[in-house]
Symmetry: C2
Subunit: 337 residues, 2 copies
DNA sequence: GTGAAAGCGCTAACAT
DNA sequence: ATGTTAGCGCTTTCAC
């Protein structure tokens, strides 16, 4: 079966292509009766417009890209659901682009977007990303970029974040209040604002509670789970080992629990844990995991909403905003008995 | 900054557009020297071809769609990584389309694909899907569809599955061998082949081990976690309650563990559990979870590879194949002490 | 109220 | 080895 085009409809109805086009777009120039006939035939032949012809002609693709480090992290998986819920409504499509935490990948992906493939971009930068030229280049081409979660402060654009500093603070304070005297912080990047903000919150909480901060209590994890386990075990075997841990990303949950198992450390009696995580199964871990739960779905929804607004040419020249949606500390067994 | 087109390059170099086009595609008709000059200028002006013009012209989009029920399930999240790894290599893009287990959504999504938006489709049907017209309609339009995981038997196309029957059998036999006398099966759909195959394996294992099968031991779960908990609790409070459970999908893990917590049932002493799951955190559950782990990444990779092959017109008229990649029973604490 | 025609950016068949 | 040109399917002036 050949693809049915607007021309086929025109022939079928003995009308011109432009009349068909206008009828389909419900133009006021076309009579009700004609519109009806066009619609009827379009349906009968199950006509669907060629998106590429429209895009080429109209200079817009109805695609938006979601550029994220990985997808098998429940924060991003849930956020995508939020994004999708919003953009689908407006007839947009979601292109998922994974950087796998690589700056090179991220640059290559954005470079591709310079020629209209997508109308806009929602992104969370890779853990390696420290500069923003690739993003600014894209924005110079009038492709709006909205950051969510992992933002780059120096780029002047809309951002949807959660209260990382306060969450880091809250997590740490909670551990202090539970009696921890020496709290370690597991990060994933020296440069990521998100990681640093959480860490600053951590430091501030220590300071406010007169607990000396030691640089060696900051441990930088990697993408390699095996390596992470080793350094966490090393951390937990030090002469003066921590009695509390704030883990700044979800995937470190497994690392910490496994390290404790191997070292036969009892959670929370010997080590209290708070993890930034959206894992649904936090409740059934043993002990259940105290989490800082990010509003993943809402962040995705907001990011998409803001992007769609930016795409609407009417709303231009608006100053860029940063929207903060708070996370929640959910206290469970890993930090308190 | 205006978008740089092939025409701009032509003007810059005093060449014709076709020369540029050919040079960029490394045609043998063009001299090495010219190619170099074109490449240099293209780079300098950071030219990127307009994908929609190419698509419109060439009748192919370099997009493939991944149609899946949800993304916040680690099987699908991991599978996407496998898919992406393969198609990225060939310059394809991945369009993620979520059905949210709704047949209506699934139909609407496929209908859209009738006009060239995507060159091919990888899909796992929704739990509501029982008929295949929407899929056949698309295939009639020469859009290849490859199934993975949740297939529709009646559609004659390539399929990548895992050994569901054998896995259901293995899970059940394992529980029998551990001494279970009454084993329940948690399904999610009456119609899904995947769910039924696993169940048939379960039934066969019971029969082979002379354990009477009771229809009431089959419990159909839904998309509503709260409801699921209730029916599982009901199951576990029956006069003759099961001493083993085979849960056929990942999201039921939380359900079962929570139900046991609430009822103060001790796993595995009072109830042994095997769950179909790719959750990395299975190891740190308490007790750690015995799983049937599907080869999610490999299935994604294979599905993508097969689709790309089908997209390559040279390989046409090949008979459709079904590829089975086995799952693995990983025995952990939830089924044995 | 309807139609003719130009053109979005690219490719390829067909000149030269 | 390079250039000319038609056309992919659609939208949008502009004309009738």
């Amino acid at each position: 079966m050949k693809n049915v085009t607007i021309r086929a409809l025109a022939k079928e109805l003995n009308l011109s292509v432009s009349t068909i086009s206008k009828a389909l777009r419900d133009s006021y120039e076309i009579s009700e009766e004609t519109k009806q006939r066009v619609l009827e035939v379009a349906n009968r032949l199950s006509y669907t417009p060629n998106p590429y012809a429209s895009s080429l002609r109209g200079k817009k693709s109805k695609n938006i890209a979601v550029v994220i480090p990985e997808i098998a992290d429940s924060f991003f998986a849930i956020a995508i659901n939020g994004i999708e819920a919003v953009v689908k409504e407006k007839g947009y499509h979601v292109l998922i682009c994974l950087t796998h935490e690589s700056f090179e990948n991220e640059k290559a992906i954005l470079r591709e977007f310079g020629s209209g493939r997508v109308d806009g971009v929602l992104m969370s930068v890779s853990s390696e990303t420290t500069s923003c030229e690739h993003i600014c280049d894209l924005m110079d081409k009038e492709v709006p970029v909205v950051f969510f979660d992992r933002v780059l402060d120096e780029v002047d654009t809309d951002k949807i974040v959660t209260n990382d500093f306060e969450s880091g603070y809250a997590a740490t304070r909670h551990l202090v209040e539970k009696g921890c005297k020496k709290i370690a912080y597991l990060g994933i990047s020296k440069s990521l604002a998100i990681s640093n903000n959480r860490m600053e919150g951590y430091k501030k909480a220590l300071a406010d509670h007169h607990i000396p901060f030691e640089a060696s209590d900051i441990v930088l994890c990697t993408n390699d789970p095996a390596y992470n386990i080793e350094i966490v075990k090393e951390l937990l075997q030090r002469k003066k080992r921590p009695d509390g841990i704030v883990a700044s990303v979800e995937k470190l949950t497994t690392t910490v629990y496994l390290a404790c198992n191997e070292l036969q450390l009892v959670i929370p009696q010997q080590l209290r844990i708070v993890c930034f995580s959206n894992l649904e199964i936090a409740t059934i871990l043993h002990p259940s995991l105290t989490t800082i739960t990010q509003p993943a779905f809402e962040m995705g929804k907001s990011a998409a909403t803001v992007l769609l607004k930016a795409l609407d040419k009417k709303n231009n020249g608006q100053p860029k905003k940063q929207l903060v949606i708070p996370s929640t500390l959910i206290i469970r067994g890993s930090s308190s008995i």
